[in-house]
Amino acid sequence: MQHAERLAVTEPRGGLGVALAATLRRDLMLLMRRRSEVMNPLVFFALVITLFPLGISPDAELLAIVAPGLLWVAALLATLLSLDSLFRADFEDGCLEQMLLAPQPLALMVMAKVAVHWLLTGLPLALMAPLLGITLSLPAGSYGILSLSLALGTASLSLIGAIGAALTVGLARGGVLLSLLVLPLYVPVLIFGTGAVQAALLGDALAAHLAILGALLAGALMLAPWAIAASLRISING
C-alpha cells in the first residue's frame, strides 16, 4: 500500500516531463518526415500573395497601403489550411486514443502538439512574411514588426485553431466547417496584428499592440488547452 502511494506521488511528476518531451520529439520527427505538409502552408502563403497584385493592381503605392492587411490575412488563411491535419493522422491511427488513456493530463499533452504546429507553421510563416512584404513594396521599417507580430499572433491562431481542429477531427468532411468555426474567433488577433504593422508604418507607439497580442496569447494559453482536451474527448468517444 505504502509502495503504491509512493509510486502515485513520484511517477507522474517525472512522467509528465518525459511524456511532453517525447510528444514534442515524436511530432517534430513525424512532420519533418512529411516535409510537404510543412511546405504546403508556406507555398500557399506565397501563392495567395502573388494573386493580390494580379487581382488589384501592380501599382506599388496602392499595394504598400494594403500590404499589412494582405500579409496578415494570407498568413491567417495559411494557418487555417494547416489546421485540418493537426490531429487527423493521430486520430486515424489511434495515437490520440493512447494519449487520452495516458496518465498525463491531456490538456498539457496537446500543448506539445500545438507547440510543434506553431514551430513548423506559424514561425516559418512569420519568417517568410518580410520576403513577401518586399514584393508588395511594404515600406521599410515595418519588416521586423511584421515578423514579430506574426510570430506572436500565429501562436494564438494555432491555439484557437486547435480547438476547432479537435472538434472536427472525427468528421469526414470537417474542412469547411473548421473554417466556419475558427475564422470568427481569429478576428481580434487579425485586428491587433495588422494594427501593430500599421502603427509601425505610421511611426506610432507599438508597445500597446504587441502587449495586447501578448495578452491574447496568454489568455489562449490559459484557456485553449482545456477546450482542446474536452473537444478531443468528444471527438474520440463520440
Binding site: G170, L171, P184, L185, V187, P188, I191, G195
Partner: protein, 246 residues
Amino acid sequence: MWAFINKLRSPRWFYAISARLQPYFWVAATALILVGTVWGLAFAPADYQQGNSFRIIYVHVPAAFLAQSIFVSMAVAAVVFMVWKIKIADMAAAVMAPLGAAMTFIALFSGAVWGVPTWGTWWMWDARLTSMLILLFLYFGVIALRGAFASRDSGSRAASVLAMVGVINIPIIKYSVEWWHTLHQPATFTVTGRVAMPLEMWAPLLLMVLGFYSFFIALTLMRTRNEILRRESRKRWVRDLAGGEH
C-alpha cells in the same frame, strides 16, 4: 434544493411546468410588442436629426440586445449541460441557436436599412454592425457543428464547448472591433448615440425590449417542449401524452 435540481433534470416535470408558464409569456410578448409598435411607430415624436427613420430603433435595438443575450444564455445552458448533465439544458441550447441567429439577422438587416437614410449607404463597416456580423457567423458555427455529428450526444457536447469558447470571445471581439473602428474612422456619427432621449421616445423602446425578451422565453419554452417530444419519444409518458393530444 437537491429535490428541485432533480426535478429540473426530469423532462417530464419541465414539460408540465412549461405548459403552465408558457401562456403568460406569450400574452406578455404580444401585448408589449403590440403596444410598443403602435407607440413607437405612431405616437413617439420624430427625431430632430434623423426624422422618422429613427423609428427603426424600435426593432434594431431589441433585436441586437437579444442577439447577444441569447448567445450568453446558450452558453450558460451549455455549462449546465456539461457540468450537471441536465439534458433539458442542452435541448434549450439547441433551440436557442436558430432564434439567436434570426435576431442577429434582424439587427443586421434593420441596421443596414437604417444606414441608407443616415449614412447614405446600405453597408458601412460600423463597429456595431461588424461585431453583429461576426456574431452571426458564430451562431452559424454552433448550429452547423451540432448538425455535423452522427450521434446527437456528441453533437450536443461539441456545440456546448463551442458555445463556451464563443462566449469568452464575444467581449474580446466586440472590444477589438470597437478599437479597430475608432482607429480607422474617428468620430463618425453613431446611430444609437448616448443622447438623452425624451420619455416618449425611450418608453416604447423599453416596452419593445421587454416584449422581445418575453418572446424569446416563450418561444424557447415552446420549442424545448417540442425537443422533449422528439428526443424522449420512446418514453412511456410521452407516448401516453401523444395518445391524449389531438
